[in-house]
Amino acid sequence: MKTDLSGLAAMAFVWILLASPVSQAEQISVEITIPKINSQPYHKPYVAVWLESAQRKGVHTLAFWHEQKDWYKDVRQWWRKIGRQQSPIYDQVTGATRKPGTYTLKIDNKELTKLNLIPGEYFLNVEAVREEGGREFIRQKIVIGAREVKHYEKSGQHELGKVAIKVMP
């Protein structure tokens, strides 16, 4: 069988493009809304926003809002995928719980480069748990490394409002 070397070279070139870390200009933003809930007493929710690989391996925490470490375990999916292993470390993005409102979280270019992500499918997860209240877990498959801007939108029913994700090339 005759081997078409030019074809192989082209394939290798494409493969290198696909396998190389995403470009420096890439940026991800996530807008989440914590809804107002009429509840007495009302506790602000613990919220985690994080990225997982397509195989559901924890990659990066964009935000983790909490009060006491005893209750971290109740942010169940985040706890099993990232929290309990402390890996990747999420200290820089942790903070106190937030009151109802809309918040925008970002992975900037510098962070994204550090993560060394291979272009492809990922899961963006948002989990909210409220003491004496409910729990909500939203997962959205996103594509990182596409040529055009990608928009995704999901809506929570109880503990989360709108979740809007933008992935820029």
Partner: protein, 297 residues
Amino acid sequence: MLSVSKLTKVIAAKGSTIKALATLTLALLLPLKAIAHERFILPSHTILSGDKRQSVSFIASISNEIFHGDRPLGDNGKGVSVPELAPLFKQLKPVVIGPDGARRDMSWQAFSRFSVADAHFKVAGTYRIALVQPNVPMTTFTKVDGSKGRFFGNQGEVPAGASNIVKRTTASRVETYVSFNQPNNRALQSTGEGLELAGKTHPNDLFVDEVLSFQLMFEGKQLKQATKVKVVQGATRHRNQRDEQVIKTDDQGMFSLTIAEAGFYLLSANIDVKGKLGSNIDIHHYGLYATLEVFLQ
């Protein structure tokens, strides 16, 4: 069921030794159902986080209503007196295996319907909390009137005219698992004692709609004989049906399942192993009762 004396007649009539032996083995296996009860340890928590010491409280019971107590299981001598269970409690070994593999003691106290214990966790990792009953001799028989009888140990007496006399040992392992901060696998390694749970899935990483892969180990080796594993969700009292999942292990003891609803589940398996020739024991019975907590996605 056929009594042994009737069996002997059948054997004599048929004159086939091999067939007779097979029938006898079957007859020996049957009465066990009548004496087996479910048993369990129910933990208040299976997953913990924190930077301070964490505690978990447990109840243990012999009960057919899953996770609702009926009789206590385990006592440190300070609990309610239960004379008929005292010999069993004397044999029970409360064992906590820590993330480093070291064994710690645990103190259970009997109440009327269940036993209670506390455990405290300072070091991160996975803990295995068990009540282990080593091989306890027991003799079962059928009385002349057809009713079944049994006694523990070697002290009892088989009543005159009794038939279907089987000398057994029963061993069981009742356990559950707790992980504080990051789980690890050290406590899950087989101790080599009786029937144990192993496998790819960590027992503190159980979520609905995911494939859970486990393996049964017997005396530290993979269990070769195909065995039924029963998985039942708690609160059987409040359901008309027990809704058990029954899964068969393969020739390496492996089995997998998925669970649709979050909750506490009791996983159990029982095997019978024929006593060695000249051991004066017909059957060794081993049971495993593991409590698992399954979470929502």
